[in-house]
Symmetry: C2
Subunit: 238 residues, 2 copies
DNA sequence: CTGGCTAATTTCGTATACGTTATATGATTA
DNA sequence: TAATCATATAACGTATACGAAATTAGCCAG
């Protein structure tokens, strides 16, 4: 009897956000988010093997749904697996950060611009609401800043109804998140970002596609510039 | 320290066709390709539930690696899963085809153009060799046309050493493959494609980036146009 | 037909076991 | 001592069996 204890532990942190009321989700699906956040937050270090039995025991699950979650994360680019050696958190590199932002710059500005033209009122409300939550979380130094930041950027793209574009954008944002957290969170990056977000939202709500395109590109470019600075400085650090 | 040496790393590449001789792969990894080919070839119809026990029995494996393979394919966009209802082959739509090609047009021409500038001799040989194989397979009506076509397009991008771009391009090509097979394979599309491929390769080998960019874009645009025609005609069919 | 109950099928997760591979440890030899 | 070989331990990947929960299908009353 494994489920008898029912330690609440790690899952509740995830269940709080998103989770539309009547959405059914599988365990491995939720595990993916839990493990993903452990990786993004640095709780699991890169390049060290992820011990499946141990981690599964920690999370009070068996290793089969955990493996499925890890497989998902491998496709998401956060972990790599080597046959018979297991899963490892992917190492980070300046080159990868460059590539991530290069791709985001190619996709996100236009996607957001097109989406703003077709967003209905519900989607507009959602974007507004998410940004408010994000600002509140950032002000309070909450650990949900990362996910909410992602939710905001996605909310700008999603109304475009292009599933693939939205999905790729989401993945790129997840990968970017690691770099932002590691290198930028300790300084006031999200404070400058807050102003940029506000301007973007305003143009987006006004359906000013051209401005949205420009502002989103600028926003990404600024973050990338900050990252470049960080990389140039703390170059050799682990 | 484990990773200090970083040997040449024989096994960092993605799923390639000509497997390097002593590459170790897990069962679920190979299963992914098997099931993927079943989907691409239409052996598994869209929108009908994939019976895990039955399929696993057919393939003489247990359902654990099969589920992992299906999870991979879900991230690849070929199947969808609904909690407690299982996995389904994703339905096809003209809208999705449009989006796939729109994204490919945004990424592939430039990626191929940049890659041709830095491709070493080995990569150039590989591109040449793969195209020869593709032409041979197309001439003989072999079922390997799809994978070889994909291999050729990837060979044009891979030397750019941008892992993410290569990976996304690969996925988009896999998704596109389904549409090409279903709607275009029965007509002589790969015959016109053959000439375009030849021109692309020539410019690519000559490191003529601008021409590569243009020709790849044209090539994709032609295929998309053909697809549009097909959709416009056989509109209401399955 | 509609709505709801029951039964059957299937997925999802757990527990357990086992072969194979990798890694660490210790012994042997040059 | 250093390098190589051999052994032991640990971990991964897969198979099997079982149970619980959910979905689907069938049936029946109104």
């Amino acid at each position: 009897m494994a489920g008898s204890g029912d330690r609440p532990s790690l899952f509740d942190s995830m269940n709080r956000m998103a989770a539309s009321p009547l959405e059914v989700r599988t365990l491995s699906d939720r595990l993916m988010e839990v493990v993903r956040d452990m990786i993004l937050s640095g709780a699991i270090a890169p390049d060290v093997p992820i011990r499946q039995d141990a981690l599964a025991a920690d999370l009070n699950v068996s290793k089969i749904p955990l493996r499925e979650a890890l497989v998902r994360l491998e496709q998401d680019g956060l972990v790599v697996s080597h046959a018979n050696r297991g899963f490892f958190v992917r190492g980070m590199s300046a080159a990868e950060a460059e590539e991530i932002y290069e791709l985001r710059l190619k996709l996100e500005p236009e996607a957001a611009a097109e989406a703003c033209l077709v967003a209905d009122e519900a989607r507009q409300d959602e974007a507004r609401r998410v940004l408010a939550q994000l600002n509140a979380a950032a002000a309070g130094g909450m650990p949900t800043v990362g996910p909410l930041n992602r939710a905001f950027h996605i909310a700008l793209v999603q109304p475009g109804k292009r599933a693939l574009t939205t999905e790729i954008t989401t993945r790129l944002h997840v990968m970017a998140d690691r770099y932002v957290r590691k290198h930028l969170e300790h300084k006031g990056r999200h404070l400058t970002a807050e102003a940029e977000h506000q301007d973007i939202l305003q143009a987006w709500l006004a359906r000013d596609a051209a401005t949205v395109r420009r502002l989103v590109a600028d926003h990404l470019q600024h973050t990338l510039s900050d990252l470049r600075e960080e990389f140039a400085q703390g170059d050799g650090q682990g």
